[in-house]
Point group: C2
Chain length 351, copies 2
């Protein structure tokens, strides 16, 4: 593993704002990148991931995974606005204070532009054979293909499509509101993190990360396995409430509240509809996930159909899982199997 | 309209707790009740309704509705634990202070037992030709049919079934947590209402009250029609966020936070599975609503099938609407048409 914090200069954002000194944390695994990028896999992380892709996607990357590090050069970049090494709301602004809530609204196009520069500056990588990611990561991969003529040969867009529907925006909005409600948030100028708000935000989000069927099978209407009796005490929990609380507890130790707001907003804003005109020769694979409550697979399918109709080499693959949205993280081996069997040689071995 | 606050004495609850002096607010419309109840319609209200059924269900009750008040005697009762006249957390406990967060956990069976006593004591009504309600109201109607041998002839259970699945419990749990997070809530001992928490709770609930398709059609990913640009300012909103905020603003002026917690818990706890053995001669009609995200219609259907298989005269009707769960409130005329055309004489006119 090689990890670097690269300064890529100033970035003019889609919103019109700009950030003078942008740092990107990039991480590289596996073999040296080929000059033509033919052995390079760019892995885009989802909302709460990092550039260390092996740490959160080891069933997909590494020995026995889809991308063997003896063959492939796998790179990850922490997104602009993130909290795992790249410039974000926790970073110091030109006035010497933290950006905090003043950190500009970031678009997926901004995130990808920063990634492209960082990979070039850190490792001389100008293009990738494959860009792959789920959810917010999938949005980045589609932007890689759409935004640049020759940046990627095959973009694999998992559990997302070319925009976000109102239900998802509403769910993200409720999560942002939960953070704002925590008095410790102090309009984004917190010293002590607003853990109660962030915990609730994560719980609200988790409601759409798993399938309805999985929730039912795992938890039903049973009382919390950790104890208590919700039929007798109003503050005692059902099992599913205990699960959500636990997810929240884990989350607040590792994530930043302002970053949460910035990145969910980037997710909400992403919209390439009407911009399906082919720009390069990239091949697109959209993967819909059964039971996905955030990006339902029928909309992934119709997105793939629209892009194919517009002239792209676009295909739809269906991941059968009862995990729902985060199956790409929870069952990476299923995703690897789907891509290995169904998509062909480009994913199996570099040329 | 005749409205009374009836004291029904002490109530021993399913939880084992008891409430010494229970008051129920009952409201009656239309003609005098027949001794055999053959012209009586009991209308059960949903989570945030009241005994004044004409105020919130006028397409169903009244001139031109399903239940003409020239023919029918229509009665409503504010639920135990409610905040529209019946004993609830805002009421004075035996120690002279408000019950507040000490108000016991209430089950649907408790709510219905209190209703039965109140209707008898206030108006001499021992039975009803029809019990009808949606969501939490539908749970009450099913409990009327299952809990008493001869209380109701025809129970019409709309947009709910005989239990709540984990996803719904989780959503209710997140809403309760939003209330708890508001510092004004003070563990339930508020003087000033925790409006920020209650507003967010309502927003979280509203996520499941409308269909995904309706959210998309009405709001999509457009910016808030009230102004602001979410692509430039992190605190500006999308249109769907503005809608949810508005729903919350209206809600906090009319509802109590402790009641919200008590009644959502009653909804979560309801579970008659395994208790489908017929107990009386009541006919059951379950109405599933297209696009219902809280009680998906496929589960309403399978519930109707289970109860029919157990020996009940149980039928399923499908309400085609793009409103989703709260179609029974938003489009009462569609529900009235479905019941008028599909269910037959029993609903059209009393014997």
């Amino acid at each position: 593993m090689v990890e670097r914090d690269v300064e890529i200069g100033a970035l003019e954002l889609v919103s019109g704002a700009s950030i003078p000194r942008v740092v990107q944390r990039v991480t590289r695994y596996g073999v040296e990148p080929a000059r033509d990028g033919s052995n390079v896999v760019f892995v885009a992380h989802a909302l709460t991931g990092s550039s260390r892709v092996v740490e959160w996607w080891d069933g997909l990357v590494g020995a026995g995974g889809l991308f063997d590090l003896e063959q492939w050069c796998v790179v990850g970049v922490n997104v602009l606005g993130g909290c795992y090494g790249s410039t974000g709301p926790h970073s110091i602004a030109p006035d010497g204070r933290r950006w905090g809530p003043r950190f500009p609204v970031v678009a997926i196009a901004d995130i990808v532009e920063a990634q492209r520069r960082a990979l070039r500056d850190a490792f001389g990588i100008e293009r990738a054979a494959i860009a792959i990611g789920g959810s917010l990561g999938g949005q980045q991969c589609l932007q890689w293909a759409r935004g640049y003529d020759d940046a990627v040969e095959h973009a694999i867009v998992v559990g997302t499509y070319d925009h976000l529907r109102a239900q998802g925006i509403a769910q993200n909005g409720a999560a942002r509101e939960a953070i704002r409600l925590d008095p410790k948030f102090r309009d984004g100028w917190y010293d002590e993190p607003p853990v109660d708000g962030l915990r609730l935000a994560r719980a609200i989000a988790t409601l759409t990360y798993k399938s309805e069927a999985l929730f039912e099978r795992r938890f039903g209407n049973r009382p919390d396995r950790a104890g208590g009796d919700p039929a007798r005490n109003i503050d005692d929990r059902f099992d599913v409430e205990g699960y959500l609380a636990h997810q929240g507890d884990v989350f607040v130790t590792r994530f930043d509240a302002n970053t949460y707001r910035v990145l969910t907003r980037a997710m909400d804003l992403f919209d390439l509809r009407g911009r399906e005109r082919p720009t390069g020769r990239a091949r697109l694979t959209f993967v819909g996930i059964a039971g996905d409550q955030l990006y339902p697979p029928e909309f992934v399918w119709s997105c793939a159909a629209r892009w194919a109709e517009a002239g792209w080499d676009a295909a739809y693959r269906h991941l059968d899982s009862d995990h729902g949205h985060d199956a790409f993280l929870a069952e990476p081996e299923s995703l690897a199997a789907l891509l290995r069997d169904g998509i062909g040689a480009a994913v199996v071995a570099p040329r």
